[in-house]
Amino acid sequence: MVPGQGSSPWMIETRDLTKCFGEVCAVDSLNLKIPPGEIFGFLGPNGAGKTTTIRMLVGLTPPTSGEVLIDGLELEEESLAARARMAYLPDTPYLYEKLTGREFIHFVAGLYRVPSDRAERRINDLLPLFGLEDRADDLIESYSHGMQQKTVLAAALVHDPKVLFLDEPTVGLDPRSARLLRDILQQLSRRGTTVFLSTHILEIAERMCQRIGIIDEGRLIALGTVDELHERAQVSGSLEDIFLDLTGGPAYAEIAEVLS
């Protein structure tokens, strides 16, 4: 493989990726290989290391050790080229409240060096797609949480990324917007975009993701399709049952029982 040519069979690859904060390792020797066009679900209980992993994958948090490769490009060595291929939606998308929605998307297009005519076309397509055209010239500070989510998603797509990282993307979205998001992600996947999705809503993961990784206490404890996870956990039922079985679910079940 020639570095920097993007010729890897894997769109996302991590090699012994580790992040420690003092003596606590939030992510411990994570190895992942995700091919182009896959929607990969990344699950785990609170504090398992999901957000830290995503932040390392997009270059926001430097790993303590290990490597991240995006489309065959080593993230640390070829940071700009690797980042140009990806887009990121954090769990809480803090935006520039004093920009309008349209300005914000144009700003992101500028950051990703999208030629102006192409940016214009993309924005004209994206605003109506997300139902933002009527409020596009209002300041973002007047948007609801859901509208902000849609704005940041529209901005993430303006440069047509090869990899999309989404951290809890459905938080704050109404059912209609959540459905729209799901349809868009599936369409992107069919066009070859890799989607790396962290979510707490297991139903979404089960319906959308081709493969699922479960992380607990910084370690990847399960990886595969839903069927493969069923086999491995030897639990029948939904993904929720598998998840609870693998991550210490009985305690939660007991709580639910007492509360009911």
Binding site: Y88, K98, R102, F107, D137, I255, V258
Partner: protein
Amino acid sequence: MSTAGEPAGRVPPRAAPPTAPSDSWIRETLWLVRGRWRIAVNSVLRGARWRAATYAVVGVALAFLGVMALGGSYFLTVWIERLTGSDATAVDVLPATVLSATLSLSVLVSFTVALAALYLSADLDLLLSAPVSRRSVFASKLIGGLLPSHLLILTMAFVPLIGHGLALDYGPAYFAAVPLALALLPLVPMAVGALAVMLVVRHVSPSRLGDVVALIVAAMTLSIALVAGGARQLQDVVSLAQIIDVFERVRTPYSPAEWLTRGLTAAGRDQSGEAVKWFLVAAAVSLAILVPMLFAAERLYFSGWTHIQAGGPPRRAGSRHLPWNNVDAAASLSQPSGLFSLLSSPTVAIMRKDFRIIPRDLTNMAQVLSPLAIGVFFVLQRLLYPVRLRGMATQPELIDPLLAMLSAGVAAAVGAMIMSRFCLTAFSIEGRSYWLIRSAPVSNREIVTAKYLVSMVPYVVLGGVLVLLLELARAFGDARAAGGAMPGALLEAFDPLLAVYAWFVVVVVGAGVLAINLAIGAARPNMRWDTPHEMLTPDVGCLSLVLYGAYGFLATMALLVPVAASGFNVVGSSGPMWGLGLGLGLGLTAAVVSTSLVLAAGETAAIGQ
């Protein structure tokens, strides 16, 4: 919550239905105030060490200022006493002025602090939805907001009053009465401030509340800057006796400050009956105003809160459509054009983004009004009081270049004060939105270039305008002194070459100053602010002032010396001096700019991790 010995995850049996947490709103209030106090203590003791160190440095600085104020008031009182032959009315001007100023400051501070505490704090949803009485929420917010700011204000008043008492050799009754007077003084302003807030929130859009605070703070700083600047001029034209006379005339018999002044001075002169009388008047009137006003404010508090909720949360606009924003204007954020096409697309996008978001938040602009006021003051001063050598109608050749350099110094200082603030907060202004730039394919160099130019471009323009105005003012003074017909005489007196060189000096010095500030801002950003004034911490401001002050002085001197030495004559024997001055000034600036920008780029990588 599990108890010892209970298995993890086991939920305890349902407890008895909750009762009211307290039967007394006073106890609830004290409990809430203790909570605020705990948060404040934790933020100092458990916060970053640099923050604790900053508080220590600020404490030492305040102690130093306190000693200076004590000495100042002591000697001023002695001086007034000697000057007026122990005239009691004249001597009492000092405590009267201190108490009146404190009262005025208290009114302004009470309004802004009460507005922020009662309606703009982040935990109001939690508190007002909890089973705690609204009265205790109101009272705790008011106390938590007003107490710290008033402690500072009253301490500032306490020290000169003590110095005044020591100078006049007053007895212990005076020193016991000072804290009592200061405790009574802010009662009326607090009540008026709280009630004014309640009325304002009914008539001002919630989205503009933050801007209201910003404008009031701006107006305060502007007035202080102009009064402080004008005081020197006043000193030149009137005597101290005249100033005392003016202060005596503005003493009004209907102000709590005046009643407390009379009580204090009576206590100092051992007239206990008179002292008790005035303190009783002040206390009775203050309480008579305070109690109903506070009750009225409390009644209006919750309806004000619901009004804000109906109009959206504080600092969030309703649907604010910007008339100047259209598709083409927005598109410029992704389209480098003109001179900007020399820069990379991300650099231009970041610059244009900053040029839009900074003026749209009035709080940002409010913080630069004070230096801008100083700039306006200097221009007016040069226009009204042109610097001239006594008894000389025309100025020697050397004076004009020196005055041009003075213009350059003033323009550079004002421009640096204004734009340094934007450089120091260049990264902090990104706040929690920095993830967007950090995760995009943008190099550190591109980010630093954008941030540098965001301050440098307006600085160059502002510096040019100030130099032009100051030089025109100087030329106007010369023309008036020469007595020629005005447009012609003005044009004759104005030297464009001098103005261009002054602007050059301003630009060179500013390049270094802004680079230093950008490096400091990159090294110590505060990305987790809620209101723009939190972006800049006092220690960063002090460090910046020391570093850029030292550089600015050296660079200006280097560029000024050859001008002074040659009388602005480039040709001839002064050539080596020019070479030396320009070489030193430009060399120093090049070294400072390159080092600072490299350091800033290095620090940029670590921001937001």
